[in-house]
């Protein structure tokens, strides 16, 4: 009996050590221009000193999957190693003419649109490989968007834990309650990736959700 208790105790300790050493694949998903790269940059910069990708006001700035390996996040004395995966924004329509408004030349806009379509396809393919996903939504926009529902539906079908982040809470138009009402079954954390606001709550939720990874 005593031997059994000791055996279980050591087994638990060793399994926890190895579990923590393994990288958790943390994906950032959401519609274009919600702030996925801004949030991933903020985390990477805080814990590695380097950013993951370029941000811009022009939608579809991230057009291919970007990685940052072995990002060790420390929170309240605990450490988890993540592989950060920043994905291109998922959209159902891409029109190169929309990019012309940002003073991009036609040829460049067409190239950007083509790359953006490939980016969406890549993001969808990568859904299978995630351990944990952060859905980044712009809290100034209407959350009742089919793309958001489709992404969450796919993650639920794959039993991947989901955290919803309501970004841009620093803006006047921000409405977290609307996001909470749209996704009542999920935890919603309001943050400002740009100003690093409320990231403590974000890390707490990520650490909590990490325990649910199967």
């Amino acid at each position: 009996m005593v031997i059994k208790i000791f055996r279980n105790f050591f087994k638990r300790i060793f399994s926890n050590i190895f579990k923590n050493k393994k990288e958790i694949k943390l994906g950032f998903y959401g519609p274009p221009n919600a702030g996925k790269t801004s949030l991933a940059n903020r985390i990477c910069k805080d814990f590695t000193g380097e950013e993951i990708g370029k941000v811009s006001k022009i939608p579809h700035e991230t057009r291919s999957i970007q990685f940052k390996e072995r990002v060790e996040i420390n929170y309240k004395g605990k450490t988890i190693i993540f592989k950060m995966i920043d994905t291109p924004g998922i959209a159902t329509r891409i029109d190169y003419e929309k990019f012309l408004k940002y003073k991009i030349k036609k040829k460049e806009a067409k190239k950007r649109a083509k790359e953006a379509t490939q980016g969406v396809i890549e993001s969808i393919k990568w859904l299978d490989d995630m351990d944990l996903v952060v859905i980044v939504l712009d809290s100034t926009e209407n959350p009742y968007n089919q793309v958001n529902i489709t992404i969450i539906g796919n993650l639920v079908a794959r039993k991947i834990p989901v955290l919803i982040v309501a970004n841009k809470v620093d803006l006047k138009k921000s409405d977290i309650k609307k996001i909470e009402a749209a996704f009542p079954e999920y935890e919603v954390v309001g943050i400002s990736a740009k100003y690093g606001k409320n990231l403590e709550e974000f890390y707490e939720s990520i650490f909590k959700l990490s325990k649910k990874i199967k």
């Binding site: 329509r93 891409i94 396809i121 209407n142």
Partner: protein, 135 residues
Amino acid sequence: MKKKSENLGRIKGFSIQFLPYSEIRDLNSNERIRKILKIVLGNNILILQGKLTAEEEARLIGDTMAMIGYVKNFKGIELAVISGNGNEGFFGRMKKGIVNSLSGGDLGAITIIGPATIVKEIKRNPKKIELLLNR
């Protein structure tokens, strides 16, 4: 005679097609998506009884993206699903589950899919849905 693809981008001549769920019930995912895209590429707004699975929706988005740039004037789709709000409670969900399994799909849901050249935006909130068309 003008090709169908040349008509994309014009609001004239679009139609609304209703597709009962029985038309896609026995199709596999590939066939369902092919059927839907064929209707949408024909300058139609599709109103589908029921809904696709989340995986099929993702595949539909992926296939749509693959067509942009290859089908003339095609800029993607607008998509919205109107379904129960999920607040039915345990017995409500159980009842819905039994009905759905007997009918082979969520017949209480409605899926709207239109080409982006015609449908500017599908605005939705819990209480209403608005279909905004391009002029």
